[in-house]
């Protein structure tokens, strides 16, 4: 019994570790030329964002993408609504995670730029990308990201599921607060436009009146000069 449990426990640990690694179903994309790839996310206030990434480089020998530990990734997060104020600037390894919390509601620009990579230019061969860098990204936004970051596996029992539902409700609540703020901004914008219409109509009326007065006085003085009036 003890021998069986020792052997199985090491495989269990191996399986658990494998589950914590980035799931193979996550989204990935290719980057060329060292250009940063940026995503713009509108985040309500106090939203937690957790990202797991893994950078792979194409190697011409094996003709495949493989993790290369000399390559790193620079992650920067800017608040575009606040003069591009940088709130996160992090340099990481080829495989890693990053996390940040949105201090204010608004649009955040999340940029990824590979560092230390060998400049093979990517090109398409028969529909498949060859060369360049492949970045696998798993971005979790919201309260659920807390659960996902600590227990990257799945929810095992009812209590965990209810906690997940609670987290999603909090997300919805925060999004509604954000939506209220934006609606107030929209209302302000509409009122400003309305006031502008009134203002420009008055300006046009004034210009019209002045032009009419000038026309009449000019013509009157012209006719008097011509001795017709």
């Amino acid at each position: 019994m003890a021998r069986i449990s020792r052997g199985s426990s090491s495989t269990l640990v191996a399986l658990l570790l494998a589950a914590l690694v980035l799931p193979t179903n996550a989204l990935y994309f290719y980057m060329h030329g060292g250009q940063p790839k940026c995503f713009f996310e509108e985040l309500p206030k106090d939203t937690l964002v957790v990202g797991h990434y893994s950078v792979e480089q194409y190697s011409a020998q094996t003709r495949a993408f493989a993790p290369d530990h000399t390559v790193g990734l620079t992650i920067t997060v800017d608040e575009t609504f606040d003069n591009d104020h940088r709130i996160v600037s992090q340099k990481g390894d080829a495989i890693g995670r990053f996390t940040f919390s949105a201090a204010d509601s608004g649009e955040h620009k999340i940029c990824f730029q590979p560092t230390n990579w060998v400049a093979h230019n990517g090109w398409l061969v028969g529909g498949e990308e060859v060369g360049g860098i492949r970045l696998t990204l798993d971005l979790a936004i919201g309260e659920t990201s807390q659960i996902e970051s600590t227990d990257k596996g799945k929810i095992l029992d009812i209590v965990g599921k209810v906690k997940d539902l609670n987290g999603r409700l909090q997300d919805i609540k925060r999004e509604q607060v954000f939506q209220r703020e934006r609606e107030a901004e929209f209302r302000d914008q509409s009122e400003a436009t309305n006031a502008k219409i009134v203002r420009f109509t008055l300006v046009q009326l004034v210009v019209l009146g002045v032009t009419c007065a000038w026309q009449l006085s000019h013509l009157r003085s012209f006719f008097i000069k011509q001795k017709l009036t």
Binding site: L15, N25, Y30, R168, I172, F186, T193, F200, Q226
Partner: protein, 210 residues
């Protein structure tokens, strides 16, 4: 005993894997950008949602290509889309957005790609609760979960429409300003032209004949 529960729990980790990634990407004019995901299990359901948040007339070309270059779906000048398809092949699936129709407007596209594999093993419930109880609870939790997903989708829809409304109002404001300036200038120009013509009628040799 404990290790068997642990083993079942770890097996459950692999049983239900649903991964969803939601990102918002800004497409420059004349840019084509693709995102990829690997489907490891035949028959997995892939959900693809996208909505253009801002830019131009809020539409974008898209295409979904499966392994061996098989086109699963494509559309042009679509504002938003919400599709679920079954992935019959194992391999790399490519989701591409194309802004080549636009020469100066950049489009912001909010998209979500979710891959859901079927569950094979049942998750063991806590000891000491009857199976009927837990299945009723599980059912209501699943219902709640799907309703929350609906609410979340609705919120995304409202956000997209609100962005469009904002863009309309801003464009209205700009247009009012431009048209007012143009109209004032035209009024002044017309007044000057009228005065000039009347003077021309009554000047010189034509004095007294009009």
């Amino acid at each position: 005993m404990r290790s068997s529960i642990l083993a079942a729990g770890i097996a459950a980790l692999y049983a239900v894997t649903a991964s969803a990634t939601a990102l918002t990407y800004k497409l420059q004019p004349n840019e084509k950008s693709c995102f990829y995901t690997q489907v490891t299990q035949r028959g997995a359901k892939v959900a693809f949602y996208f909505a253009v948040q801002s830019g131009g007339s809020f539409d974008v070309d898209y295409s979904v290509v499966g392994p061996s270059a098989r086109i699963i779906m494509e559309g042009s000048k679509e504002r938003q889309g919400d599709f679920v398809f079954t992935a019959n092949d194992v391999g790399e699936y490519r989701f591409c957005f194309n802004n080549e129709m636009s020469t100066f407007a950049d489009k912001t596209v909010d998209f979500e790609i979710a891959v859901e594999n079927e569950s094979r093993a049942q998750i063991p419930s806590k000891q000491g609760s009857s199976p009927e109880q837990t299945s009723v609870l599980e059912e209501s939790i699943i219902k709640l979960s799907s309703q929350l997903s609906t609410i979340h989708r609705n919120q995304k829809y409202f956000r997209t429409r609100e962005n469009r409304n904002f863009s309309t109002v801003r464009s209205t404001e700009r247009r009012i300003f431009n048209f007012s300036i143009i109209e004032s200038l035209m009024m002044v120009a017309m007044a000057g032209l009228q005065v000039f013509i009347v003077r021309f009628f009554f000047q010189g040799a034509r004095k007294g004949y009009v």
